[in-house]
Structures are given as C-alpha cells and as structure tokens.
C-alpha cells in the first residue's frame, strides 16, 4: 500500500541521472544563474514533462517537473483554477527549485505552501517520494518544503502534486500617483498585490465583483489622492533583481522617497533573537536600490541592482552543510550552485 510506484518516465529519468558524475537539470533557463552556474563538466538533463492528473474537485494537480508553467496554468484555467507558481516562462521544476513567489503572492499564495508531494531523483539515482497526495498531511518530515528553493542541490525534481485554487470571479488592477501605499494596504482586507515604485502605487483586487468594488471604494477613501485611482490592465514592469526585506523595512524606504530611495538594516526579532544569528532581514548598509518596485506587506523589492549577499550565521551554515551532506554526500547534484550566498542575480 506504499504510494503508487513511480511510472516509466520517472524511472527512465532516474536512470539518466544515474549514481555518478556531476549532474543538473535545465528547465526553461529563465532563472539559470540563481545560486551560481553549475561547474564545468556538469551533465545537463531535462526532467520528464506532462500533466499527469488534474483533479479539480480535490484542487490538486500532479505534474511532471519538465512541464512549462504556462502549459500547466492553461490547462488549469479550463476548470477555473490556478496555482501559486509565478507565471513568467520556465518549467514547474525550475519554479519549485528556485522557490520564488509570484509578485501577487498575497492573492495566489506562496510556492512552498502549494507543494503537497514531491518526487525527486536522489544523488544515488533513485526516485524518492516526500509528502503526500492530499491537501492536508503531516505524515513524516516535510521533504517537499525542504526541496522547494533548494536549487536542485538536494535532489532533482521529477514530479510534484500541487495545490490548486479557484480563479476569482474578478481580478482588477488599479493605479494612482502619490498614494501612500501603506494606507492602501492597511485599508484593504485581502489585496492580491500592493506595489509601489517610489511614486506610483498599483493594487490588484480579486474576488467577487461586489467585493472588489467595495474594496476599491475603501481604497479611494483611505488614500485620498489628487489624481484619483485609475484602472489598468496589469501591474508595473518589474526590475530584474529581487531583494528580500521585512515588510516594515519598506516604510523606511518610503520615508526616504522620492529622492533617492534607501533602506536601513535592522534585523531579526527581539532581544536574544539577534544572538541566534542567521538570516536577519537586513539589507545591510543603507544603499541605493536603484530603480525599484516594492511589494507592500510582503517585503520583496524588485530592483535594478543586485542584492548584497547575506551570509548565514556559522551555526546555521553548519546545519545547512549537514543537510547538503546527508542528501548529496558526493556533491554531484548541481555542483557549484549554492542556496546560500543569496541575492538572486538573474534577469527577469
């Protein structure tokens, strides 16, 4: 009664991966240099593709890693559903390996939260299943979350079961000049996105038509901008680099606007927390982000300048190294790539 055995395509993929020699998977190459290029001599493979099973009434879809995200979303749209994966080219496996959220993460959910089950090929060339097929599951350790964002350094993703969500009845974008984006964010119950580039604010509202209209009115009332809010087709074009900030840090960005947006550091939580070290949310010295689009309430800043690396604390680095060593003792999976000195540097 073990989970259904991996089928032919996965077994073939596992055989291709084998048990020796440096190896990596290429997807759509839309985020290829995230975490660094794989070392020279690394064998490049493609993951199996195809949507295996979409169960709209369960709100789940089983999809192979090599499937294009666009193809997946087109298929889901036929039954009025979507997933949290960002739609910007590339493959499902790539999107999971990188783990970045859609710019409208508030409405679509986080990528990590969407993965119910993963199947990956391990460093010794066998198919491993983590997680389970149902929308709720706490059986055993959460390997799916570990794999999301691991850049293929712990296992090569072959297949995943993702949670789907209904596409809301209505999605509308609005923009205004000179609105205080935080006021917009606080006034709304559940915006899908509140974006701000230093002068313009964009808001995406989704849901029942009447709710969206009510939210729009709340938005207008809360912000009182001279030019008013106008509807638009989409949000802004995003600069290529992602900075990961605390939502509260964006306030400081805002205070510094419009001249030269800058952000100050200030990591972590209270007291003792600092001592724990690790990934504080700081972006280091107040430094120009260049041209930017900030996601209010989320903390992501899309910038024309790369984010500085944020080295983990020694204890955390040691733990991460133990994890890597356990899953890939020989270092053959995506050699040269690392999840750690972050600050994603790929063009969008």
């Amino acid at each position: 009664m073990t989970a259904p055995a991996p089928d032919g395509a996965l077994v073939r993929f596992a055989r291709e991966v084998g048990a020796t020699g440096p190896v990596a998977v290429e997807g759509g190459r839309t985020r290829w240099d995230t975490g660094g290029d794989p070392a020279a001599g690394t064998r490049l493979l493609r993951a199996p593709a195809g949507i295996v099973e979409h169960r709209p009434e369960e709100m789940t879809v089983r999809v192979r890693a090599g499937t294009a995200v666009d193809e997946l979303h087109d298929e889901l749209a036929a039954t009025g559903q979507r997933t949290a994966l960002p739609r910007r080219g590339g493959t499902v496996g790539g999107a999971l390996a990188v783990g970045e959220n859609d710019v409208c993460v508030l409405g679509r959910g986080r990528v990590r939260d969407a993965v119910l089950q993963v199947r990956y090929v391990s460093a010794d060339g066998v198919v491993v299943t983590g997680g389970g097929p149902t929308v709720k599951n706490v059986t055993g350790y959460d390997l799916p979350r570990l794999l999301v964002g691991s850049l293929g350094t712990l296992g090569l993703l072959a297949e995943a079961i993702l949670r789907t969500n209904p596409v809301p009845a209505v999605s509308r974008w609005f923009r205004a000049e000179g609105a205080v984006p935080f006021k917009a964010f606080d006034a709304l119950f559940r915006p899908s996105a509140v974006l701000w580039n230093g002068c313009t604010t964009w808001v995406e509202l989704e849901g029942h038509a009447a709710d969206v209209e009510a939210e729009r009115r709340a938005l207008v009332a809360a912000t009182a901008v001279a030019g008013g809010w106008s509807e638009c087709d989409a949000g802004p074009v995003l600069p290529p680099y992602r900075w990961s900030l605390r939502p509260s840090e964006l306030r400081r960005l805002h205070e510094a606007a419009p001249g030269g947006p800058g952000a100050a550091g200030g990591a972590g939580g209270p007291g003792e927390a600092g001592e724990a070290g690790g990934h504080g949310a700081s972006i280091g010295e107040p430094s120009g982000l260049g041209e930017l689009v900030a996601s209010i309430g989320v903390g992501t800043v899309f910038s024309s300048r790369p984010a500085p690396p944020r080295p983990p604390s020694p204890a955390l680095a040691a733990l991460a190294a133990r994890v890597k060593h356990e899953f890939d003792p020989g270092g053959r999976l995506n050699p040269g790539r690392s999840v750690d000195p972050a600050g994603s540097v790929s063009p969008r």
Binding site: R112, N137, V138
Partner: protein
Amino acid sequence: MRGRPVSADPLVAALCAVLGRDRVRDDAAERALLAHDASVFAGGAAGPVCFPTSTEEVRAVVRIAASHGSAVVPRGAGTGLAGGAIPLGRPVVVVTTKMNRILEVDRDDRIAWVEPGVVNLDLTKHLRPLGFHFAPDPSSQQACTIGGNVANNSGGPHCLAYGVTSQHVLALDVVLPDGEVVRLGGLDAEPPGYDLRGAFIGGEGTLGIATRIAVRITKNPPAVRTLLLAFDSIEEAATVVGRVVAAGIVPAAMEVMDRGITVAVENFVHAGYPVDAGAVLLVEVDGPEAGTALDAERIAEIGRAGGATSVRTAAGEEERALLWRGRKTAFGAVAQIAPSYYLHDTVVPRAALPQVLRAVYEIAERHGLMVVNVFHAGDGNLHPLLLFDPREPGTLARVHAAGREIVEVSLAAGGVLSGEHGVGVEKRDYMPLQFSDVDLDHQNRLRRAFDPACRANPGKVLPSGHSCADIQSLERLPAGVWA
C-alpha cells in the same frame, strides 16, 4: 516542601545548578505524570523534568543532557494525540509551560514573537483588540501551546482556507540537539538558504526545541457567516462537501459530525444541534461582506440540492460561538457515551469520503466497537473516534486492530496516515504503509542532519530500522515507576 536535598544523581544535580531546585522535578509523581500526553499510549518513562524560562536555559539543559548521555524530549501542554511528547527511555523532559510570554506584536510586519509555551487561544485573545488573530485553531486551542502546534504542524477547522501552522510561522529560534542555537527562516519576504524552518515544522520535537517563534498574525475578516446543515446520512453530508469545493468555493471551514457525536455535543452545549439528523455539516465562510453572503447562499443551495433537511444560519456572534463550542468540545463530549476513546486521524481525497466513511462504520461493527465521526470534512481529514471502556479486558487490542484497518482503508483510497496529529509513537510503525524504505531513508537523513547523535525525542516518527527508532518499545512497561 520544596526544600528537597540536592539529588545524588549527577544529571539532576547539574540541571539544578542551572535552573535551581524549584525548576527541576525528579520525584516519582511528576515523572509518572509526564510519561503521558492526551493519547492512549502507556509505557513512557520520564527522567528529570525541567522548566526552563529562556533560550539560554534550554540550551544549558540540552548541553547538560548531552554531556550525561541523556536524550531530551520537549513538551508543551501534553495535548498531543500521537504520543509525540511521551518520553521513551527516561530522557530529560523539557517543559515549555513557563516560557509563555508574548514578546512582541508588530503590525507592520504582521507578526508576533512568542515563546513556545504560549497557549494558542491566549495569543488570539491578546490580538483581538488589534483586529487580528492567529489562524491555526486546533480544537484543543484553549489548551495547546504554539510550540506544540509548530512541532505537530497542527491544523484546525479554519485551516481549510487559511492553511496549517507551517503557513503561519515565519521564523524560529531553535536549540539544536547539540546545544547550538539557530534562527530558521526570517521575517523578510523570501529568506535565503534551504527552508529549514519548513523542514523543522512538523518535526515533532525530534529536530530540536523551538524557543522563540515568529508567527504571522491574520486580519479578522469583516464578515463571517456560519451555516448548520442537517442531512439524513453522513454520506450525503460528505458529498455536499465535495460539491461545494467543486463549485469553486473555499469556505473558511467545513466540519461534519455524525448523529452519535451530535447528540453527545448537544447534551453538553445545548446549541440547538438537530439531534434527529443523520449528520450535520457546519460551514463557515468569511471575508468581505457581499461575497460572504453570496457564498453562504450558494452553499445553502448546494446543500438543499444535496438533500439537506434543514439549513440554519447562525443569527449572531453568540449563536456562532455556541455552534463552534459544540464542535470544539466534541471529543470530550463523547465521554457521555463511553469512558474512553481512541481518536484516529487520516486524510482521504474528498471524493473518497463517503466510501471511506462507510468502510469505517463497517470496520468498527466487525470489531464490536462503537464509532462516531467528527471531522474536518473540507480537507478530507477524518477523525473516527472508536469508543471503548478500558476496564473491559481485551478491548484495547480490538481498538488497535480496528485502527489499523481504518488506516489501511484510508491509504487504499489514496490518503495519508495523518492530517494533523502527527506520527509520534502512534503511527511510527505504520510509516512503511505509506512510504518506501528509500523514502523513509531520506526522511531519516533530514533528521540526522539536525540530530546526528539521536538526542532529540528518540523513538518517534520513524519506524524501527532507522536511526533513533530503537530506543525502547512501548510494549515494555518500565518497572518501578512508583519506586
């Protein structure tokens, strides 16, 4: 009365030196009490019991335990149902009930930093004046701790729309089993590195001890509507659940109770549950006003089309609270039917609910046991309660046999072993039913990365044959508990 002499046991003496004698308990009574949690498993054996109050103290306790070759078992309120907090092999028990401060609430970041011993409902009450709450709401929320929620990745009725604990925890300070302190995750949008926060959550205390937790706080919805639908049969109720989801509605919660449990609950809370119905479906929708009303109406329609004999909408907050009180005290209320129960926790695809429920009743009947069902229907999370009298010889064996069959039926229907209670000792030996050896080996690698020396809560989650599993079998009752 607390003026006990310093213990001759060097481990106890070392612990006392750090925590003081007041916060180290080594008497037989306290140790015997902490050999249990809310599950039916007996046979745990606790070593010294510690009550640290800070990360530093937890770190010291963990280091002392390690240097004396002793394991550590974290414990919150002991409401776990899978035996996760049951100490095996006399480890040091680290109780978090004195680490119960809400440290900080930040509305810009929409987070609260809490210590692990903060009671789930206490946090939500604390946030109420600010218009926020902590979304995971296990039925035990009045008692269970947030540390326990993290360790079990707990869910609750409202996790259907809001997601389980993992979706509401941004960062954790963790004392690793070797005494190192790390912060996992972060308050920023996409913390770099492996998602070790995600990996830690649901680790059932085998990956370290969480000492500070940054949880997401969620805005209270502007509108809430609660409906109570009555059906002639539980299959009808379950079918309607599937249809609501298929219609593209994700309610905040969808809970089903069968007749047996409805009657017991009604006797306890007097909420006006229909006691003659075959099953009731409690549905809650929330969000902006207009859509909430629309969704409620559509759910009522789908319900009526699916055979609902009555549809009642809670008139106000008081009625709503009463209906929920009924649901949340359901497990306890069964005491009116039988002195003890064994609560199962499996998940099946929603579409399989009617068929699996039929099988559950059939299994119970075959084993001569009474079963009642109250469950998170929206996400297919079954909670059959097998009722029994522990004083009747031989019943527990029948209960376990029936339990195993329920697990097998759920897995055969494409389900999983546990939806929210975790594996603990309860389902450890069922793990091979869901995972292959290779799968389990990979889970074990994660565990080993956090705890190479098997010092954290040994004997849990992974079955025999994997590291840390073979500490002590539960069947062997330790001698001299009361000595």
